[in-house]
């Protein structure tokens, strides 16, 4: 960072003795003046609140302290305790990532498309993974509710960090008080944990956590701004204030043996896409770091073969420039750095006002087939544990006519297998119970119609 020149410092000092210190984080006088004004307003408010309580406050010394904290790089948002996110004011706290304007722009653009939809489900379910302050679903809700009153939003925010959850809870409560509509929930879960892995950590894998909390398994829209910075990019491309003050947990995915730097940066995306498929999300919006990562994510989404359309959005997706669709028909929309990847399938196309949609049956078939494509959904993995029951996984796609049934059964079988593994993994924890699960049934088509059968243990 270049040194700030003496003449600039003198100029700043002449305007206000507090200004020179703020030049370091702000770099120019106008920005420093703005920050100083905001800090002063903050100090005034604090003083007013103290007075109301009968306390007094030395405003000058508080201001001096805050200015020096800011001068040493502490983010203004942590000092003031809030950040603006679209129309909303979101509470911030150190230990939880500060919401970014770019994220708000993606969310606003998503809702801009949805608010014109002819028909949205009366109960629209929104799942936000890695929710942090809760800013993403809160802005989504605010934007949708100001445009439509025919939709009831059910929101679920997920994070692994208790600090984030506490803050998100606070933000959600405030939002609900000022607009008491719909439902909001938060759960603690780990979205990268394999549900079949040994669970020695204290956060449950998402699926298990959903089951435990009695939350619905299906969600219409999945959004996520996951940690996406690779270790080497962390050191070379983030600003000092980010590295010095924001939680690394929110920025850099965990390292797993034998993965490359890039793979580590991308770690969340395969998991998120897999969850999107499992919850049968019709719209998926994932934030990314740059165009390269966007393209890798789009490619993965494409390989899943369940989506009708994929787009890459830049920082200003509302600006109407569209690059011609490149590889695999993925168009790049807007201006600025690439910032998110949007995928849709089935009814999601109509909600977004996109032309491409596939018939319900094709959509179901794709969804069904895709279970063969992902690690945990791979039928060949069944039976790796000697205690596991062998379910009859169809290996060839069923005929057109039997599809819905086969699809349904495959889903049930899969659930049942998951639960079984979960029970196994819980044996040692004292949580294990042995009542039969409803998924231990399956259906067959007979000449009398549908018949329910109990699975043999």
């Amino acid at each position: 960072m270049p040194r700030i020149g003496n003449s600039l410092l003198r100029k700043a000092h002449a305007l206000d003795p507090f200004l020179p210190a703020l030049l370091a984080p702000c770099r120019d006088i106008h920005a420093a003046q703005n920050e100083l004004r905001w800090l002063r307003q903050h100090v005034d408010r604090v003083a007013k609140a103290r007075r109301a309580r009968g306390d007094t406050l030395a405003k000058g010394s508080l201001l001096r302290q805050l200015v020096s904290e800011r001068a040493s790089g502490k983010p203004l948002q942590y000092i003031l305790g809030t950040e603006y996110f679209g129309d909303l004011e979101i509470r911030c706290r150190s230990g939880v990532l500060i919401p970014r304007q770019d994220t708000a722009a993606s969310v606003t653009n998503l809702v801009r498309l949805l608010r014109d939809a002819q028909k949205l489900p009366p109960e629209l379910r929104l799942l936000d993974l890695c929710t942090g302050t809760g800013c993403v679903p809160l802005l989504f809700r605010h934007e949708l509710y100001t445009a439509r009153d025919d939709v009831d939003l059910h929101i679920l925010g997920v994070d692994v960090s208790p600090k984030a959850l506490k803050l998100a809870h606070y933000n959600m409560q405030r939002a609900h008080r000022s607009m008491p509509r719909g439902k909001m929930r938060l759960i603690r879960a780990d979205v990268v944990l394999n549900p079949f892995a040994d669970q020695d950590g204290d956060a449950l894998p998402l699926k298990v956590a959903l089951n435990h909390s009695g939350l619905p398994p299906f969600w219409d829209i999945l959004v996520s701004n996951p940690p996406y910075i690779s270790p080497s990019n962390y050191w070379t491309t983030t600003t000092r204030s980010v590295r010095g003050y924001e939680p690394k947990l929110a920025l850099v995915p965990p390292s797993i043996a034998s993965q490359s730097d890039t793979e580590q940066g991308d770690l969340f995306y395969p998991r998120l896409l897999e969850i999107a498929r499992d919850v049968e999300a019709k719209i998926v919006l994932l934030e990314v770091a740059d165009l390269d990562q966007a393209q890798r994510v789009a490619q993965r989404a494409h390989n899943l073969s369940i989506f009708d359309g994929i787009e890459i959005w830049r920082e200003r997706p509302d600006i109407n420039t569209q690059a011609p669709a490149g590889v695999d028909n993925v168009s790049i929309i807007g201006e600025g750095n690439a910032r998110s990847v949007l995928c849709w399938r089935g009814a999601g196309a109509a909600w977004l006002g996109k032309a491409t949609a596939s018939a319900g049956r094709d959509d179901a078939l794709r969804l069904f087939r895709s279970y063969g494509h992902l690690p945990h959904g791979d039928a060949s993995q069944a039976g790796t544990s000697p205690m596991e029951p062998q379910f009859d996984w169809p290996t060839t796609p069923p005929s057109e006519q039997d599809l819905p049934m086969a699809f349904h059964n495959a889903r049930i079988a899969r659930r049942s297998r998951d639960r079984f593994r979960e029970r196994l993994s819980r044996r040692g924890t004292g949580l294990w119970t042995d009542h039969p699960y409803p998924e231990d049934y399956y259906f067959i088509r007979t000449s009398f119609g549908l018949q329910k059968r109990r699975r043999k243990p």
Binding site: M1, P2, K11, L15, R27, D28, I29, H30, A31, Q33, N34, E35, L36, R37, W38, R40, Q41, H42, D44, R45, K48, A49, R53, P75, Q77, L80, G81, T82, E83, Y84, G86, D87, E89, R91, L97, I98, R100, Q101, T103, A104, R174, R177, S178, P227, I229, T237, T238, T239, S241, V242, E246, A250, L251, E287, A289, D290, E315, R316, N337, R339
Partner: protein, 183 residues
């Protein structure tokens, strides 16, 4: 980078005593009701930029500036607004100021801003200042006020230089575009 350009901007705003004096001697003050309608802005005529310098963006930087720059293509007027921490409020303010500037350009002394200036005097002028100050805090008033700390809607002092006119930077194209936050 310099702060001089901001001073250069002042003349376009006729708040000098001379103007006011003349206004009072020549034109009877009009009631606010007869103000001309605001000119409508067409999106196609506007180029809006969020100024944050170049860089990777996203999670990699936590910037505090939500500066908005708005250019009106037909007239070449450029307005920049960055006084609040809220990008949405800055956008709205930039639009409002741009409307005023276009009108002043088109109508001269008949513009709403000029008429209003003639209306306000003495005490009223300080009320006008307050009004402007209020805009700045607009949007910072979202949510409840009961919280004690961590929120910044203060009845804050302004540090003189930013007051009223300094709040915005207006310039015509080709007038040496200012760069914000040179790195």
């Amino acid at each position: 980078m310099s702060i001089l350009p901001r001073l250069r901007l002042l003349p376009s705003h006729a708040s000098t005593p001379f103007n006011i004096l003349r206004a009072f001697t020549t034109t009877p003050p009009l009631p606010a009701k007869s103000l001309p309608p605001r000119p409508t802005l067409h999106d196609a005529d506007l180029i809006e930029k969020f100024l944050h310098g170049s860089g990777p963006g996203g999670q990699k930087i936590n910037k505090t500036s939500s500066a908005v720059q708005l250019k009106h293509i037909p007239t070449g007027i450029v307005v920049k607004y960055q006084d609040t921490r809220s990008r949405t409020v800055n956008r709205k303010m930039a639009r409002k100021i741009l409307q005023e500037k276009i009108e002043e350009m088109e109508l001269g002394e008949g513009a709403r801003t000029r008429i209003k200036q003639r209306e306000v005097s003495g005490k009223k002028r300080s009320a006008e200042k307050k009004r402007r100050r209020k805009y700045r805090k607009l949007g910072e008033v979202e949510g409840e006020r009961e919280r004690e700390e961590g929120i910044e809607y203060g009845g804050g002092e302004l540090d003189g230089i930013n007051e009223v006119e300094g709040a915005k930077e207006v310039e015509s194209v080709g007038d040496g575009a200012k760069k914000e936050g040179e790195k």
